[in-house]
């Protein structure tokens, strides 16, 4: 299975990189939102309830980096779903199914590629951070934490996209889920701390795994939340990866059964 998964991951990566119209929105939208939020909402750090480090609020841009990363990873999941749906529509999926490989490697190859793409997305935001003066509080080990949580979350979000694609069988349906990205995002603590959200958003954010993914990536960047936030981030991202890899595999089996 490993050989086939790697070959399919390589192919998925190659095709994604050759489709700039798919890749660009994953970076451009979150970057624009990062710019807008940083430019217009930076006074939010003065609000009571905003976290402080050694009595000082963090730089708002640094705080928002993890939000932009989370948004980008979620959009990556939609992109993966659309790519799989297009393969179904054009019949390439059948070519893979007819090959003598474990069929689950079709899903695993995609998810593996999603993890690599997630790392590329994170690198974009790390570079932006470096260019605009963000300090990575925990240095290189902190960066590894960001990449670890981000890659796992990328797999999880891609798993959602693959599940939707295999269930729906067409790209337009998967694309229809695009607005949900923003609902999930704004009902989490990615953009603002949970303490600043009003009810019921704060309750939803408390149970939204994206909150923990964002806080886990944010902790080593701004130096807030400590080991607890990192571990919760890893747990949430790992949970998302396992859960949605399983649903994608299940959806694949369902599609194959239906023929």
């Amino acid at each position: 299975m490993t050989g086939a998964s790697l070959a399919l991951a390589r192919r998925a990566l190659l095709v994604t990189l050759r489709r700039p119209q798919f890749l660009a929105p994953l970076l451009i939208f979150p970057t624009l939102l990062l710019a807008v939020n940083t430019g217009g909402l930076s006074q939010a750090t003065a609000l009571p309830g905003f976290p402080t480090i050694d009595g000082q609020p963090p730089v708002f841009f640094d705080f928002q980096l993890a939000a932009a990363m989370s948004q980008s990873l979620l959009l990556g999941g939609v992109g993966t779903g659309i790519a799989v749906a297009l393969e179904l529509e054009m019949g390439f999926f059948e070519r893979l199914v007819a090959a003598p490989i474990p069929r689950v490697s079709i899903v695993f190859g995609r998810l593996l590629a999603a993890a690599v793409i997630a790392c590329l997305q994170l690198t974009w935001f790390v570079l932006l951070g470096v260019i605009f003066g963000a300090g990575i509080y925990d240095g290189i080990p902190g960066l590894l934490i960001v990449y670890g949580i981000g890659a796992l979350a990328g797999i999880g979000f891609a798993g959602i996209g693959v599940t939707l694609a295999l269930r729906a069988g067409n790209a337009s349906t998967v694309q229809g889920f695009f607005p949900l990205v923003f609902v999930i995002l704004f009902l989490s603590s990615a953009f603002f701390p949970e303490a600043l959200l009003s009810s019921p958003a704060d309750v939803i954010a408390h149970y939204n795994p994206l909150s923990y993914v964002a806080n886990g990536m944010r902790a080593p960047i701004i130096g807030y939340g400590g080991t607890k936030a990192v571990l919760e981030g890893f747990a949430a991202a790992f949970g998302l990866a396992v859960l949605f890899a399983a649903t994608a595999t299940h959806a694949l089996r369902g599609r194959l059964r239906a023929g």
Binding site: G3, A4, A7, L8, R11, L14, V15, R18, R19, E87, M90, G91, F92, E94, R95, L96, V97, A98, A99, P100, I101, R257, G259
Partner: protein, 318 residues
Amino acid sequence: MLAIQANGLQRAFKGGIKAVDGIDLSIEQGEIYGFLGPNGAGKTTTVRMLVTLLLPTGGSATVAGHDVAKEAGAVRRRIGVALQEAALDSLMTGNELMLLQATLQGMKTDAAKKRCSELIERVGLTDAGDRRVGGYSGGMKRRLDLAMALVHSPSVLFLDEPTTGLDPTSRFTLWQEVSRLREEGTTVFLTTQYLEEADQLADRVGIIADGKIVAEGTPEALKRESGANHIEVILLEGSDPTAATAALSSLGEPMEASGKHDVSIRLREPGIGVADAVRVLDDAGLEVAEIELVKPSLDDVFMEKTGHRLEGSGDGES
């Protein structure tokens, strides 16, 4: 061992619609089997079951000695598949797709590269190998599809309507490749809507209509079975068709004249030809503008077995 065997193979879809309704197949190793039928007859559903993309809902089938339902993995290792509408990723190059297919077939990198290069050359795509498939013509895509299906030297090759939508030149090129596979001993299961294609390529033909095989045999045997040769005559103006029919009755049985023809006679014996007919008409003092000996075609066989002509049968049927 038979390359393909099916016993009462069935596939029903939601609502109980039987796309394939109990077909039997016995195809020898090295045989080219033409599976002929109109759109919706059950050709593609049959292929999808035989290549393990679809589970049968009844009956059984083995391909290369392995059960398609219980040993799907073993079947997939031994077959090559080029499905309807060459499903190729337009963003990849021909060489990349070939290499991907070889890797998925479990070939080692060096052997895969060598084999891919051989096949790309064989299908005439060497110069286009590094170009993205999105820029290929329909014929080039089909040739690449065929090369990909052959990358692991399968013992059984399934070609689902490989020439549909191709121009005559591309179609002819693909026919040449299929003929070459015959020489190499590969079993080919070829579905087609084109009678000429089945006639030219297939050792045996199966005709499917409404999910059932309604006729099977060599093209020659099917045509013989379908009926005798007949003579079609167009008389010069002033000659009496009734007199011509009466004169030609000595050679066979009069039929309803078709189209522009004045007289049609189904010949009694295969040895009777145009010369005999001309002599008879000359003896009766009748003048002929055109006379033609018509042999039965697969289209006639199809018409006889299904009650209607095959779509696309006009495409060069001889």
